[in-house]
Symmetry: D2
């Protein structure tokens, strides 16, 4: 099997590694807390944990609560960005959203108002709301949902109406961000429409398995298992880079060093991680750390990255060996 980066690994070895990763994740769950800023999210089970790993051949290795549905939340930002890049092109997108990591909390207004006059990147709320505004009128929600379903190889994905309505009733901070963006000319007048689309995309329901498939689609540069291409390689290259530098809010730098995989989290407890060209990983664990990331994500991904030798800058020993033979 070709899961690990440049070395053979047996199914038995992989299962052992997954089990140990799961055990390490389980161990830190008590340190996390379920998001409660929206009543519906507060109902999640803080003890839930699932890991799904999707290999190049499409095989999934699952452990724990991998079939439980939860809302995708901020992970939707990656697919929305990819769509905007395909529809408008890189220049038009990055005219309105920057691509710099932000040293602030994920929904901070400071950078936006003080440092720059643009959202710092498309992985924070201000940036993703701007991206949603770009999609308005170009694609309907249903069409976008179809793309989400394809990318996640999850044709039954639907939005959770209860969460959607609950979020719409607790939208004051995002509304503040959106109107601030409008006041700076970054959002057009369709503020409320934009907020609705943004929130609806956040309420789409996935599983750890669908996130692992999403990771694999990104790892394969937008190509699905059936060979169909959803996104271009250039779009995926941009998304992977931005996930790496900005995907974990103000813990992105630490994550890049310790895990070395483009990763995006959502307050619903989801996490998608990409070992380029090799593996997609999906995690579900609604117990969050103080930055709003799945608390088990760090220990699980750090362990998997090391054991599977998939850190971005880990030497590709198998490949090296082959090259040296030249």
């Amino acid at each position: 099997m070709g899961i690990a980066n440049g070395k053979e690994i047996s199914t038995k070895q992989l299962c052992d590694i997954m089990e140990e990763a799961y055990r390490r994740g389980k161990e830190v769950l008590p340190q996390g807390k379920v998001a409660t800023y929206i009543p519906e999210l507060g109902k999640a089970d803080p003890g839930a944990l699932g890991i799904s790993l999707c290999a190049r051949d499409g095989w999934h290795f699952n452990i724990g609560d991998t079939n439980r549905r939860f809302t995708i939340q901020s992970i939707s930002k990656v697919i929305s960005l990819a769509l905007a890049l395909e529809l408008l092109g890189m220049d038009k997108v990055f005219e309105r959203v920057d691509m710099e990591p932000s040293g602030e909390a994920f929904n901070s207004l400071i950078d936006l108002d003080l440092i720059s006059n643009h959202p710092m990147n498309p992985m924070i709320n201000s940036g993703a709301i701007t991206v949603a505004n770009m999609l308005l009128g170009k694609m309907s929600f249903e069409e976008i949902q179809d793309v989400f379903r394809k990318v996640c190889e999850d044709p039954e994905m639907e939005s959770n109406e209860a969460v959607f309505r609950s979020e719409m009733q607790n939208l004051s901070r995002n509304r503040a961000i959106a109107y601030l963006l409008q006041s700076k000319g970054i959002l057009d007048d369709r503020v409320e429409e934009t907020l609705e689309l943004y929130t609806r995309l956040c309420s789409l329901q996935v599983t750890a398995v669908s996130l692992a498939s999403m990771g694999m689609t990104i790892a394969m540069d937008g190509k699905l298992g059936n060979g169909e291409s959803v996104f271009t390689g250039r779009t995926m290259e941009i998304c992977k880079t931005i996930m790496l530098t900005c995907g974990m809010y103000d813990r992105s730098g630490r994550f890049a060093v310790k895990v070395g995989l483009p990763t995006k989290s959502g307050v619903g407890g989801g996490l998608v991680s990409v070992a380029d060209n090799h593996v997609g990983i999906g995690i579900y664990g609604p117990a969050l750390d103080d930055k709003g990331n799945c608390v088990a994500g760090g220990p699980i991904l750090e362990y998997l990255s090391r054991e599977l030798q998939i850190h971005l800058f880990q030497k590709n020993t198998y490949v090296d060996r082959m090259m040296e033979q030249r």
Copy 2:
């Protein structure tokens, strides 16, 4: 030749690519300005430009002013960090310096004072001064200089006394940073000693060629051309990640997307760039952009990255082909 990532490339092709990159760099030089905050730096020739590319086999491809000596400045931060990691271990280093990209200008006090109580990362002045403090008493300047010489395969490297003295006389902002760090307990009482070491390391003189060798040493995980290992693979992995996320100040995110190579700049006009496992690139161009990075660096590296297919997330077609044959 094995320069490009997974595809054969002829020497002629490479020379053409280098020439075009040089031409593009030359074109934007008039948009930049030589650093003048230190009188000695202001004497540099804004029209100077040199590119050196070092391949795996140790061959250098040079164009332009590649033998002119200039001070390494902030590029020294990478080697200092590597030394601290080797001497103290990752945990001890990152107890005192964080590893998050900073959305502020390279020498800003804001993040340090307001957001965090630690330097945001070792690539900004506050972080590098803290790293210098860690080295004090563990290695003499001469010993550190020896490591710099090895990493850059440049045994004649010496510090520029005029620049060193000029910087010591214009040190008020760094001195402010250092005393603020002391007030927060991050620097011990050897503040002036630390500033002197930090400044002396910044005043070491390199060429584009030595920077290309430095890039190659990092690309090869700390191994020199003669097989000697200066740093461990883990140390280099950390340095490459941090160069990628933080190496270009508040333009690091844009650089990661567009160039996709761990890169570090210095106000002396130097730039070192690493195509992991493949290529080291050194650039000299003292005309800087408004963020303090060599203004020609962006266009040159963007072009080289695309033509040589060495962007971090670019598909490794040659490798792919081999793997598919399995």
Copy 3:
């Protein structure tokens, strides 16, 4: 006549002083600019200038465009605060709004989001929107308008519908502030209703004469010329202090030193100034400085303050003389 603080002054002298003040104001008008963030405001005549001074005996001394109507804008914040203090009491009001000068621009979100979790004071937009929220349901717009008419001794005061509608269509920044306040629990759910009341109060139309009367009402601790009491002395004491420390945005400190009179400005070009117990001053000059204050206000009030000896801390020589005779 008892206009000047502790010294006799003739009508002729006063007229000369007013003329010189007017001349000095006229002189700096070309340095200012009419507010254009709302199209309707942009129509004002940048050359317009009027000064009205109301003495203790009710006499008005007018020069220039003192009968032209313009929207009261932020000057309404003083009367709204006074109303909230009367209706809810000091403790309830300052639970939700702080009373510290803010070093930021008048509509900044930074302090609100980063430093404090409350509006810094009731003279900036976030604070005044919070105060408007306090008035909702306790008084109708018509009732509040009646108070404004009384305080300004201007029974014909009406809101300017064109400006009101224009502001409601360009409300994105205030809307951002209001929703941010809601997200922090400082505003209740009546956000849009609050914004409408706030904006409607801003669109009430006054003249320099009505503002001079307003200043006199405050100077006399809430007592009108006919002896009727609109506000208590304690409420006026608080308003005067806050006008002094916060009334001129981030130029309040300079104004307090140089002019030494509680003063409040509005982007419509109005300015009300209070020489406690002695004089009320109203100015109209829609050409604004870079902080959004009437550009002529500084030179005019600085001159009047010195010539009439009404600076807050100017020695009350006439009174002193009397006291020494005791």
Copy 4:
């Protein structure tokens, strides 16, 4: 007796008021903490409290620990400012220091580095260090000390060498501020000399009685009891205004509203308060609140201000009566 503002008050009444003020101060002492950032200051007795009130005729009314010596600390900023104003004139002083209240903590670098390029006002450390730099070379420490002695009618005032040395050894934050000021061209090269003068002035030892006299000198526009003029009226007018808007750090606004007296605090536990033209008040209480102000100061001064009717904007009924008789 002419202590209260415009009304007769008997000695007995005044003693009762002082006693009640003292009782109220004593009550809140347990909520405060002695400053410990400098070991020497940490030795102060948190239970100590003294109030001294100086009337126009020079009489002092004392209660509690009014003869204990303590270091003047930041209260020295008022006299230093007055000296700089006399020596250089208003324009030259306010070219280098602004006069705006700062919404940040008393020694914050944020405003200085981010918002403005000047110290926000002369009552915070950055501003006072700049003022000390202005005095260098114009007056010796001994000459300045003589002025302090006069202003406080305290000919035996000396600096506390132990505190001075302790502060000089714990100066890193002020040193950071000073070098940042140098880097911005606000301080000249005599940084260490400036810090020494600044710190030495902070270590001068006063009593509550000397502070009450200092308050009276300011209240009388710079005139001593013996008729000698130390400062001009204009200088005192500026100092009083700045004490009012900036004297209590980021609680100045609240203090102005509730107490309504120009006041300055020091971390040594001192407080000087000025009822213009009427009374000087000195307080000693080293137990500080979280902003670094004497914790008992608020309740004591709020009570005295109300009972003695000396709030800045309180109606001067006695004077009014006289004026109405005209």
